[in-house]
Amino acid sequence: MAGAAAVGGSVRSETYASARNWLLLPSWAVLGIFVLAPVAMMLVYSFLTKEFRGGVIWEFTLAAYDQFFFDRGLFGDEPAKIEWTYILIFWRSIWQAGLATVLALLIGFPTAYFIATRPAHTRTVWVFLITIPYWVNLLIRTVSMKFLLRDQGPLNDFLLWTGLIDDPIRIINTNAAVQIGLFYSYLPFMVLPIYASVERYNFALSEAAADLYADKWTTLRRIVIPSVRPGIVAGCILVFVPSLGAFLAPDLLGGAKNFMIGSLIEEQFKGNAGNWPFGAAASMILLTLVLIILVFLARQQARAEREATP
């Protein structure tokens, strides 16, 4: 991720400059083929005319963007009104992704702090445990989550058994289910970078704060959090960005009512019913949005790193 990689001091001598450029060539090639080319393709496709059986006709048009933002009636001949459908889907996605990020931060920070303060030899075990879910495919995990959360699923069975509730709670096919799915899918992305930051944190600073009459909460707020902010920002980016484009959790857990951007885009490229230029346009709008947020966060990150460098 843009902000997460810290650039170390490198050899700046002239002699190595040209060698360095040559050595970087493979990286540039990989980036070009796997990042720049697909994005460029998307950009081009978003300005093309749709082919009804999927695919595109090579004719330039702004129709895809027009369809995203404006409603011109069924036959396209009425005066343009703002089309709220897709904007609302975007808004719901941002809101869901934001909430998932906040929840992941609230649970992830204490978890990361806990792991980083264990004795060195047990830390590895904890980190390993955190990554275990990643040995199973996300699709399978999300489907399991669906079984776990449904009305007659283990969660409701358990709650009924304890007597906390009398009737099953409806979780599946709600925003809450999407939220649980997102939170569950991306929590480790929050824990790991924060863990890495807390592990590097100089705990003598906490002692110094306590020595200067700061209680535990004040120490956390004024000393610990500012010192590990690079990890927090990185974690937030790593949870927010994939949550924003997620489609498995909204599709499988949220049902049709709780559509998110990821699902909208996915629909456009599925089978013969899709609209490739519209899907490409929605992707470009999402990408632009993410870039704006990333630039903002990267600036924050740069500031945090400048301040946290001892």
Binding site: N202, A204, L205, E207, A208, A209, A210, D211, L212, Y213, A214, D215, T218, R222, I223, P226, S227, E307, A308, T309, P310
Partner: protein
Amino acid sequence: MPGSRNAIDVCNAVKRYGSFTALQSITLSIRDNEFFTLLGPSGCGKTTLLRMIAGFEEVTEGEIFLFGDEIENLPPHQRPVNTVFQNYALFPHMTIEQNVMFGLEMRGSSKDAARRKAGEMLELVQLAQFSARKPSQLSGGQQQRVALARALAPEPKVLLLDEPLSALDLKLRQAMRSELKSIQRETGITFTFVTHDQEEALTMSDRIAVMSAGRLQQLGEARDIYERPVNRFVADFIGETNLLDARVEAADASVATCRLANGLTLDCDAIGNARPGADVHLSIRPERMTLAAANGDPWQGTVRENIFVGTDVQTVVQLQGGIELTVRTQNSAAGVATIFDPGTDVAVDVEAGAARMLED
């Protein structure tokens, strides 16, 4: 001048980590306004004791009093003592001024009052012009002084210093010694200083507690500890010395006559249980002996080597029976003192009262 009140009383303090005992029942008192030093090699428990006073280590057994108030169960942020940490532990995301203001704000000072006091403190350590900088923009010596200003700002009842000079180079360390001493006198705050450097301890302290292996070995004024060490550890750790095995020949209330393994005898002050026939250890400082040309006196030997150490020359003399003594001769421009070449026979004159009997 150190007052008569005690700033800190440590009573039978014990620290155990599992089955390992880091401190074995330490009892000592630190007087109000004094510059007190805990001195010992690494691992002797001095830093543990300091951290117990600060509140970072729990006391396994025993009590600690601060001006008569029992404090060993208070969390660190409720103890009116401040610490200068070994690696300074300055808050990297705050400016120098914010660092110094931190403790004041935590104690409830208004921003303005805290800023004013921080200004005074930075003035005291001659860093007022750096108040807007970040710690990473200062040199080690400057960071050290910021740490000092930050710890002094809330006017602690006792200032704890954990090897604060160990990260500085020699010249800076020497300059900081006199600066610390004069700041202590100026502020009148009790300083408790931890170091493994005996020279640092001797030059700055009103009183020194020498520790080893979790025990208090000796507590006293610098001169007292140097001239009247109680045991082999203290005699050897503070300054240089010659340690000799001897047996008490005769002893009265004040003077004991001791015989070395090679038959030579020496008089020294009698201590505790120096009964005739007892095996004892003697300590003689190298500078309390002089060399002269051999004159038939039984205290004579052969020069083995001369080591030039700048201010003086250390001569190793081998006495009969294989006993080696190191004798220091001060260098002087006039060349008053004669340096004898290796192989020369010399007479060794031990100053009266130079030999010190040790307890163990």
